[in-house]
């Protein structure tokens, strides 16, 4: 440990001077520690709770899709092509109707939740992880690292989101995995910038100086001392980032640059449906509604998280 030699010089201070212990005590983040306080603040916001419930419902559908969905998402019931949904004179065999090749729309929507939520979560996890590493690195190392990282982020931000995603897909080729990569590239800068700004703000605070004086190693300082105190805005951004990623991925799917058929991705389903605007409006309406409801629910939840976790932003 880096503090060993110093600890020897300060023996008179006794066992209380243990750098690691000090670092531990100092780094307990005030907001995250009190889960109960957080929940009471979060549950005050009715919209947020509603959003959470809807998200939980969709997540459950996605997880248990094979048991919940009435049919396979790709099986074509050739004798039931373009069946209307049950409220428009269809049958209970296909509650949301069937599409142009006789696939069950409800089953495709349920399986589509897997894909959309999966993309949203993967993008969020990867970009938060990369954002933490790059953001902390530029905050701590400054100099060349910071300049290079932040200039690259500036470029990424300068290119309109969808155009950049299209460029990435053009390089890598259209597929579900490449959609995740493309959307991650698009949304990485906000996490890097956020972590960097928060870390720089923390760096000047006394507990960081204290930890440094105590001889805490650089990596420990970055990830154990400073990072927990940057988490609140990061969590908020991450939650809202899921909905943006879902929208972006659906847009790519719609343009034919995302998930490829017959994958039941919501955006790709919409792209297939365009010719049936006149004859089978439910094929157009339902996948978009699924996207909208999911994104609204996640945004409601994210707003609630922001109000509960980030008191600085809580106003109006």
């Amino acid at each position: 440990m880096a503090g060993d030699s110093m600890a020897g010089d300060n023996m008179r201070e006794g066992p209380a001077f243990d750098p690691a212990a000090i670092a531990m005590v100092e780094t307990v983040p005030p907001e995250v520690s009190s889960l109960r306080a957080f929940w009471s603040a979060f549950s005050e916001n009715r919209g947020a709770v509603l959003g959470l419930m809807v998200v939980a419902f969709i997540a459950l559908l996605a997880i248990f899709a094979p048991w919940v969905a009435p049919h396979s998402p790709v099986e074509q019931f050739r004798q039931f092509v373009q069946q209307p949904p049950v409220w428009a004179g269809g049958s209970w065999q296909f509650p949301f109707g069937t599409d142009a090749v006789g696939r069950d729309v409800l089953s495709r929507l349920i399986y589509g939740a897997r894909i959309s939520l999966g993309i949203g979560l993967s993008v969020m996890v990867v970009s938060v992880a990369l954002g933490i590493v790059l953001g902390l690195a530029s905050a701590f190392m400054r100099g060349v690292v910071e300049v290079v990282v932040m200039r690259i982020m500036d470029v990424v931000v300068a290119i309109p989101s969808l155009v950049l995603a299209i460029l990435v897909v053009a390089v890598l080729g259209p597929s579900l995995a490449n959609t995740i990569i493309a959307v991650t590239v698009v949304y990485l800068p906000r996490y890097v910038r956020l972590v960097r700004a928060a870390a720089i703000a923390e760096l000047s605070k006394e507990y960081v100086v204290a930890a440094q004086v105590a001889g805490v190693g650089k990596l420990r300082l970055m990830f154990v001392t400073v990072l927990p105190n940057c988490l609140a805005p990061l969590i908020v951004q991450a939650a809202l980032g899921i909905s943006d990623a879902i929208l972006e991925a659906a847009a790519l799917g719609f343009l034919g640059l995302g998930a490829q058929p017959p994958t039941p991705e919501w955006g790709a389903m919409l792209a297939d449906s365009r010719e049936f605007i006149r004859s089978a409006p439910w094929i157009v309406t339902l996948p978009g509604l699924a996207i909208l409801v999911t994104v609204v629910a996640i945004n409601l939840m994210g707003d609630g998280l922001r109000d509960a976790l980030d008191p600085k932003l809580r106003r109006s």
Binding site: A158, P160, V163, I166, L257, L292
Partner: protein, 337 residues
């Protein structure tokens, strides 16, 4: 203040260089050798190949190729489209007015609706109107606009028959040479009866679709900025002086509340251009967004590269201008130095 201006301008230069680098590298990573694309499947003799490579400058060191590319960009050379064999810049300039017209109308739609809605929601905070506006803004903000476009086509065009389904103009009934490239202006200049009306009718749905997200953002921003300003001392003073509520809200509060809103509006350029890709695809609008998507499916990489470079350059420039405007209109920065 001039120093501040110059510093902001200087800060964008590295971004431009990096953008050149990104587009340069990206196109070299794209599958498909540029020579193969030119020669087709049959293949060519090694001598021809070497000659081609030399002509395209591909036999030179990579850093020199980059310098050539950057030099070309600075002289307005954005490459030549593989498909149409015309310079990318020319294609872009022909299509860009269509996108600009659409984006402009979308922004006007968003501003004209968004600012009053935000102001009213703030003034009547907690009312049904406020809740309605905020709910609508949430929905707008979360909207998959490609679906929104399809819904509007389904309802307005197919069901009610009010608006045309796609395109910029009713080409069967009207034809005129493009003068400015802006359909609204050209149709007026053409002196053909009904042409202007047709141009407007074609613009309505795409503008609504493209303007939806900016509308939601502007309404939210106006409301929160207005709420903040309404709590300030000078507004209370104005009220205490007995000024009419309209004067207090309209003159004292709104003027100050609009500063952040103007910035947000400026920063919507990127959103508008990204949204234009989807909107133009749905409505078969002949602008740069649709062209960009088509150049991917045609594997026209020079067009893709040049197009991305041009679009991003425009976004960087507009953001810079917004930044400078913000400095110019915000008294705190202006006088603070």
């Amino acid at each position: 203040m001039l120093k501040l201006f110059l510093r902001r301008v200087a800060l964008t230069l590295p971004t431009f260089v990096a953008l050149m680098f990104v587009t340069f590298v990206a196109v070299r990573l794209v599958p498909g050798d540029p020579i193969e694309v030119r020669t087709g499947e049959r293949g060519i003799s090694p001598e021809r190949l070497a000659q081609f490579r030399h002509e395209l400058g591909l036999d030179r060191p990579i850093w020199q190729q980059f310098l050539d590319y950057a030099n070309g960009l600075l002289h307005g050379d954005f490459g030549v489209s593989i498909v149409t064999k015309t310079p990318v810049l020319n294609e872009f300039l022909i299509l860009f007015p269509a996108t600009l017209e659409l984006a402009f109308c979308a922004l006007v739609f968003a501003i004209v609706l968004g600012i009053p809605a935000g102001v009213l929601a703030a003034v009547k905070r907690g009312s049904i109107f406020d809740h309605t506006v905020m709910t609508a803004a949430l929905a707008g903000y979360s909207m998959p606009i490609f679906w929104w476009g399809l819904l509007l086509i389904m309802f307005m065009s197919e069901y009610l028959g009010l608006t045309p389904v796609s395109g910029r103009m009713d080409l069967i009934n009207y034809y005129f040479e493009p003068v400015t490239g802006f359909m609204l202006i050209d149709s007026l200049l053409s002196d053909q009866e009904g042409a202007f009306g047709a141009a407007v009718a074609h613009l309505i749905l795409p503008s609504i679709v493209l303007g939806t997200i900016p509308l939601a953002v502007i309404a939210r921003m106006t409301r929160s900025s207005m709420l903040e300003v309404l709590g300030e001392d000078y507004v209370r003073t104005a009220r205490a002086k007995g000024l009419s509520p309209l004067r207090v809200v309209g003159l004292h509060a709104l003027r100050n509340a609009l500063i952040p809103v103007v910035t947000v509006i400026g920063l919507q350029t990127g959103t508008l251009l990204a949204g234009a890709v989807l909107t133009e695809t749905i409505f078969a609008w002949p602008g740069v967004g649709k062209w960009l998507i088509e150049s991917i499916s045609r594997r026209d990489y020079p067009a893709l590269q040049g197009g991305i470079m041009l679009i991003s350059g425009i976004v960087i420039l507009v953001n810079l201008i917004v930044d400078l405007l913000y400095v110019a209109i915000n008294p705190r920065i202006r006088h603070g130095g």
